[in-house]
Amino acid sequence: MRWIWIDKFLEFQSGQFARAVKNLTLAEEHLHDHLPGYPVMPASLIIEGLAQTGGILVGEASGFTEKVVLAKIPRAEFLGVACAGDQLIYEVRLTDLRSEGAVVDAKAFLNGELLADLEIVFAHLDNTRSNQIFGPKNFVFTQQLLGVLDLAKAQERARLAEADSAAGNGLSRPLPTSEGGSS
């Protein structure tokens, strides 16, 4: 199993807002253990999905040059549960960003209804110290995780090209360039 708890970005406004989708399926191991006979997504994994959405939003805001780690969740409210077959929409808004870290407001929706409401604080690891411990590689933003954002960008480019083609513009329109240095 890969530790990726979002399936796709639906919207990404650099430094401001991100919306991602998470589809729940019985192929996921955790639903068989949580809970036996009553498969609901653990709240901790919903938090992880929101943190991954927010973490990429925060990381992209500084060109993925910082190692962004989840520091603290000052507030988390859950108003329901999500089961196999459900689709969760994660919405994350960047409320504060400074050199030491960032804060996001993160919400999960199920069928348009608010399911979870969180505040998440991210810290930027001190580069000198983290390089001593972990080496210079940015272990937070692995290609695996950033692949989710790359996929959304590729789909957007394909959609734009298709729209151009349908409008009779052929393939003359240049594709939007990738931002954020994630590729």
Binding site: A71, K72, P74, D96, R98, S99, E100, V103, V121, A123
Partner: protein, 128 residues
């Protein structure tokens, strides 16, 4: 310019939100770490909230000094004269009179009381 009491009340609610403590525990003399259970990662959260709640800018390292473990600042766990003078310069809003007698670096965190934050914010608002 708000009064000291108004600043205290806002600092109090800031700490209730950041640390999940009860309002009555956030007294003027309560130490952030020893009495209110703050951890180092809470400091970033507190800085964010103070900026938001008071509309002030807190430059990195100004409220909670960084790099106090440099060898020329600390020797055998005690602040050197250079270290002490650096701390005094960085923390003009804190009462260091007792700390100066035995400037153990581990006790540095005890200097951060609710009142320290109130004085810091009052200084920022006064200079704005």
């Amino acid at each position: 310019m708000p009064t000291q009491d108004q600043i205290f009340e806002k600092v109090q609610s800031t700490l209730v939100d950041a640390l999940g403590v009860d309002e009555e525990d956030v007294t003027s003399g309560a130490a952030l770490f020893k009495d209110l259970g703050a951890e180092s990662i809470d400091l970033l959260d507190i800085v964010f909230r103070l900026e938001r709640n008071f509309g002030i800018k807190i430059p990195r390292g100004e409220l909670f000094p960084e790099n106090v473990s440099d060898p020329d600042m600390v020797e055998n766990g005690i602040l050197t004269p250079k270290g002490l003078s650096e701390i005094k310069q960085r923390m003009p809003y804190a009462d260091l009179s007792e700390f100066e007698k035995h400037p153990e670096v581990e006790k540095l965190l005890d200097l951060y009381t609710v009142d320290t934050l109130v004085q810091y914010v009052a200084g920022k608002l006064g200079s704005n």
